[in-house]
């Protein structure tokens, strides 16, 4: 592997290009017309314009991206997150054209992309799944039989999954028939597949996910968990590790569950197994596996000292993992704040524009992953992520304190940001006390949104971006 095409934009493209450079690999950036001159295009050894603003014609345009990769002599493609990262057809197309896809094999992406299949495989290897139906549900009567077994509230989900579409919370029998039809129609429209299944709808839970790395030979390790319970509308807002709700014994259990699934599906590369955790009982349930690098991966990097993107590239080059589980040490505490170009006081209205002034904090334990420089344009076509502030300190209290100080060190003019919202979270006694759940941000910090949210019925554990926009996940 010598030259890598980075099929993404924004901070993750910058992150991947830097990892390529660190490994002595050349990089080729792609960009859409409004991203002309963006930082990732400047940092890469070469940059190719692949299409207009619309993602479908640029960052999601497989022929254009493959042509750019082949035409520039690349031998590998890193998809980043969002866009084509979890598209098995793209992974296959890369392989057909002799390009290494920096990610898992297509069959693993496909298996985990089918949420019902993923659940079955998890159950098969002894990973706890949320109590629910054993297979697809063809009628409201079948849902009723499931309800009789596991009780209300129930969550109806689309097997083809994602984005909260085809999903309904059913709190009583009277809603059942109506919501069943609505959910299956929505699933049909969104995914071309009306198949539904049902799970017990869990409340007051935390979102805890386990990072894994697996190599071509099947060696794998887990790198501990990340707690992503701070969410707004199923989008992660702030992540931390270790989770305040996970004990060392629980960490071992969750890690082993994650690795059992990893081995079962012949996984390779970096991946994340998402669970919901009941903090009182310590019971955890598999939700889904994300077969890509995640937005919040730096939290784990700060804690373990393992460069996950470099590891992905090495694994794609068929190098052995070279890490054993006993070598993975979690040191201190890390937090990540997603700084978005949004106005938190105006319902998180997106705030694209020109970033006239931009200065990020720096110092011991402070890392900022960003594609923003003074004068950079935030186009309205893509996700609003400006930067990720990651702080690392000896313990949780020190990390929260460092996070507050670092947030105060940003100077941003020209666009609104979510920085003040992060300060509110880090100053809130319930967050500081480690007592939040996946509905906490919405219930406690923005209760005004609770009633007016367009998808109030959605489960908090579904943290998926709009895939067509390639949003952060």
């Amino acid at each position: 592997m010598k030259r890598v095409l980075v099929a993404n934009r924004g901070e993750i493209a910058v992150r991947v290009i830097r990892a390529c450079r660190a490994l002595g690999l050349e990089s080729v950036a792609v960009y859409s017309e409004p991203d002309r001159g963006a930082l990732h295009t400047e940092l890469a050894d070469r940059a190719i314009c692949v299409g207009p603003a619309r993602s479908a014609e640029s960052y999601l345009n497989m022929p254009a991206i493959l042509t750019a990769a082949l035409g520039t002599g690349c031998d590998a493609v890193h998809p980043g997150y969002g866009f084509l990262a979890e598209n098995p057809a793209f992974a296959e197309a890369c392989a057909e054209h002799g390009l290494r896809f920096v990610g898992p094999p297509a069959h693993a992406i496909r298996l985990m992309g089918d949420k019902l299949r993923a659940r079955e495989i998890a159950a098969k290897v002894g990973v706890p799944v949320v109590p629910g139906s054993d297979g697809p549900l063809a009628s409201p009567a079948q849902v009723e039989r499931v309800a009789a077994r596991i009780g209300y509230p129930l969550l109806l989900k689309a097997a083809a999954g994602g984005g909260g579409r085809g999903m309904r919370v059913i709190r009583s029998r009277s809603q059942l028939a109506e919501w069943f039809l609505a959910a299956s129609a929505e699933a049909q429209a969104a995914f071309g597949d009306a198949t539904l299944y049902a799970e017990r709808f869990l409340e007051g839970v935390r979102h805890v996910e386990v990072q894994i790395l697996a190599d071509h030979a099947g060696d794998c390790v887990h790198l501990g968990e990340r707690d992503c319970s701070a969410q707004r509308r199923h989008q992660k807002v702030l992540e931390e590790a270790p989770s305040p709700a996970v004990t060392p014994a629980l960490r071992t259990q969750m890690g082993e569950a994650a690795l059992a699934l990893t081995r079962e599906i012949g996984y390779e590369s970096a991946g994340t197994i998402e669970f919901v955790l009941e903090p009182e009982t310590g019971r955890f349930y598999f939700i889904e596996m994300n077969t890509r690098i995640q937005v919040e991966h730096p939290v784990t990097e700060m804690l373990t000292g393992v460069d996950l993107v470099a590891a992905q590239l090495r694994i794609a080059a068929r190098e052995p993992l070279g890490l054993s589980q006993t070598e993975i040490r979690l040191r201190g505490h890390a937090l990540e704040c997603r700084i978005n170009a949004e106005a938190p006081d105006e319902g998180f209205r997106p705030s694209p524009g020109v970033v006239r002034e931009w200065a990020a904090p720096a110092g011991e334990g402070i890392r900022v992953d960003t594609h923003i420089v003074p004068g950079a344009t935030v186009p309205p076509f893509y996700d609003s992520l400006l930067a990720k502030l990651i702080v690392h300190a000896a313990d949780r209290a020190a990390a929260i304190e460092l996070g507050r100080r670092a947030l105060g060190g940003f100077r941003v003019e020209g666009v609104e940001t979510t920085i003040p919202f992060h300060v509110r979270i880090l100053e809130h006694p319930e967050f500081v006390g480690g007592r939040i759940h996946t509905r906490w941000v919405e219930d406690e910090l923005i209760p005004s949104e609770g009633g007016s949210a367009p998808l109030p019925n959605l489960p908090p554990e579904i943290a998926r971006a709009k895939p067509a926009l390639g949003g952060p996940r």
Binding site: E26, R36, D45, I48, P52, P63, T67, A68
Partner: protein, 179 residues
Amino acid sequence: MDLSYEDVREILRIIDGSSLEELHLEIGEFRLTVRRKGAGASSAATPAPEARRAAPPEGEVSGAEVSVWPEGGPEPVVVQAAKQPAVPASAAARPLRQRGHEVKAPMVGTFYRASAPGAPPFVEVGSSVGEDDTVCIIEVMKLMHSIKAGCRGRVAEICAENGALVEFGQSLMVIEPLP
């Protein structure tokens, strides 16, 4: 075959006498890219890496930059062009759109001037074209897309090299409209 410094100088002399902004040439295992300084806005905004690496010291006036990539070698061999005015400054500085109708690449792909290897090119500089005449082809994943002239006129310039990768929005040709 080997490409000597003198060969490169000769190529440069030919290019200097033409109105080309960019040239991609493949001879045997050599790939040669020549790009004129201050070329049209569309290509200037997306400098190729070799051009950036080969940028001359500030203040030095150069007609063009040339780099030679031996196959498989990541570092280009840089040949600094002679310090001579390439074309009259007014011609180089004139925006493309004032010179005529620009045919832009509607997609990333490989640019071909003919329908098949060995076939005569669709057009040459000076050819007369009708609005719907095919002037070139862009290949994307084995699919050939015919590119139309878009206006009636005379081909004033061909800006891309046969067989080269062209970007979305890149200038392929300039057509001088006929009244």
